[in-house]
Amino acid sequence: MARRPMRNSSNHERDRHGNSGDSDRSTMSRRKYLHTGAAVGTAAAIGGCLGGSGEGGGGLTVGYALPFTGTYAMLGESIVNGFEMYLEQNGGEIDGREVETVQRDTEADTNRGVDVTRELLIEEQADVIVGPVSSAVAIAIMDTIESEASAIWLNANAGDYRVTQEGCLDYHFRTSFNDWQTSAPLAEWVYENVADNVCLAYADYAFGQNSKNFFGEAFEEAGGEIVAEVGAPLGTDDYSTYLGQIESSGADAVFSFFAGSDAVGYVSAFADYGLNEEMTQTGSGFLLSEDTLPAQGEAALGMYSLLHYTPAQESERNQTFVENYRGAYDSTANVYACQGYDSAQAFAAAVEETGSAEPDELSGALSGMEIDSPRGSFRFNEQTHEAIQNMYVREVVESDGEQPVENQVVETIESVEGPTWDCDLS
């Protein structure tokens, strides 16, 4: 019960209530992918019991520990969409085994996150936990994942580096990103292409501080100068005062970390005050991602950000993914859908390789595994289980698609690895 309040912003949340987009969601919350024809008989013969599988036959159970209500509902749904698209493409089975998916709402709240993770592991006997979205939830469930030790954990969005630094769990694999990857690699690019001095602006909570610090260190290392730092509380209503400080810092560019509704409020106020004529806005990818761009609109034009996936990426692999996604869900794919899809790919590949759903075996298989992702192929680091992947510098440009603006890749930073934070699982 003790949830966090729903604030205007990112990490928080007392977040709930599903997006209306997917009308059959409630019926989907327990969906079985049935085989067709004779296969149904086979499955029934092999396993009467689903879940709790382990060796050999029986079904596989996927547990989504994601927010389906509140500020992050759209993220949770996109991850599920991505995962399930992979399942549909493969006839609803992995390695010849029927897959059942169970979804539970974390409400992006730490205590609910712990509750639903335990429920998925104990009551639903999940073989894999997919999620969560919020880093606070990820950190909170580390203990449960470790003590239950019954499933692999595919972290499909929570990017706090401390999951690796402090958790360093054998069962944890990041199918998404970490906060170092979405901030530090941008520093050198900014220094070389934009400005040699920046102002740092960030949402004043763990994730925002991490991103700001990582970028700042890397920027100074590249030779640049940090002129000022401006922290705004999470869920700030009006950014006027902070923008005043950013402006009076006199910097040529600003690097920001804001996400969700904070990003919307910040970017539109930035444009309101005409700051986009005085300085260049850069930021971590979540400042300008698919969940905020529709609301930010033209205010976001010309801003740069760094992320590991962009729907407009021109590779053939991605084009197919985007088309399939549109066919299945009638909407544009986004980074979250890609993370969900890759989680499914990783899980399937590991099960197929080992013929098992035992977390220890899956972990062994996933370590060092290469995933052919729409974002460009990536590999799980043997030491940290982080994704070693390309990062893309994107610019917001006008679009003739359904939204007025979109991100376009302007530079690819290849095979970004990042620190290990003294975690060595190899």
Binding site: P5, M6, T69, T71, P233, D238, S240, S261, A263, S268
Partner: protein, 289 residues
């Protein structure tokens, strides 16, 4: 430095006036109906969401500004007639609890209908860009918000102070039976006051929805701030609500300059100190009676 102070002052006054729109409704409803309306933040949020839908569908900010508050007024009528009315005369505690229920319900419904992501209302082309005020450049839209909210507050003030309506409203608050005896339908007055509060909150929602983000957390976020304002000003006091809204607006914007993370602390600390010194709020003793 001067720039920052001027800017913070402008912001403080502007958000103070908007907060006054919300707090004024809250305090009027309490003054007349004896109801602490926890759902007031939810009504403000509904204004912003209705506004964002109308602005997209009809393509006009001005229509949104006109229609969305009226729709919120309709919701207000429904709440007053179907749920508050049967409870008048009971312990006012029940009103807190009832409206808290509505606040939760509306927040849930908003996410259910519009999803969790933030939205925004597009500013009208007429009001984009900045205006040079000598020391600082200030967005035209924000100046518009400042002007219109000040005008609205002034209008409500005059209406309450001067017109018959104001006299009837004040009389109903003091002695319902008297007013009843004069042949005035008190329950209509009550509905009217509640709807007025709802419309003001809705207006605030549309006005802010074009300069901040529209999101499902905005209602619960602002209601506590509004309570702090109303309690500091003295429950039921219109003057008190406007005064302390400006005070809180300025404290918040100056706080953001000095120590952003401690602004909330200042807010609640201020309220606690005021209440300990004057248990009925700054203007409570004289006006709320």
């Amino acid at each position: 430095m001067i720039e920052s102070i001027v800017r913070a002052t402008l912001l403080g006054v502007q958000s103070g006036m908007i907060l006054a729109l919300i707090a004024a409704g809250l305090t009027l409803i309490f003054g007349m109906l004896d109801v602490i309306n926890f759902a007031h933040g939810a009504l403000y949020m509904l204004g912003a969401y209705f506004g964002s839908v109308i602005a997209v569908e009809l393509g006009s900010f001005w229509l949104a500004l006109l229609l969305a508050p009226l729709l919120v007024g309709v919701v207000g009528i429904a709440i007053e007639v179907f749920s508050l009315r049967p409870l008048y005369g009971r312990n006012p505690l029940y009103h807190i609890l009832l409206t808290f229920g509505f606040a939760i319900m509306i927040q849930g419904a908003v996410v259910q209908i519009w999803g969790g992501q933030a939205r925004q209302i597009a500013q009208p082309a007429l009001l984009t860009g900045t205006l040079s005020l000598g020391v600082v450049d200030y967005p035209v839209y924000r100046l518009f918000v400042l002007a219109i909210s000040t005008a609205l507050i002034g209008g409500v003030w005059l209406a309450i102070d001067r017109s018959n309506l104001g006299i009837i409203m004040r009389a109903s608050a003091h002695d319902t039976e008297m007013v009843d005896a004069l042949g005035i339908d008190v329950s209509k007055v009550f509905t009217g006051v509640f709807v007025l509060g709802a419309v003001l909150a809705g207006l605030a929602g549309v006005l802010l929805g074009a300069s901040r983000s529209v999101n499902p957390g905005m209602g619960m976020g602002i209601i506590i701030e509004a309570f702090v304002i109303v309690v500091i000003g003295g429950l039921g006091s219109f003057r008190g609500a406007v005064f302390s809204a400006l005070l809180i607006g300025l404290v918040t914007s100056y706080g953001a300059l000095i120590a952003p993370t401690l602004t909330d602390l200042a807010l609640f600390g201020l309220m606690a100190i005021v209440l300990m010194v004057k248990p009925n709020g700054l203007f409570g003793a004289t006006e709320a009676a």
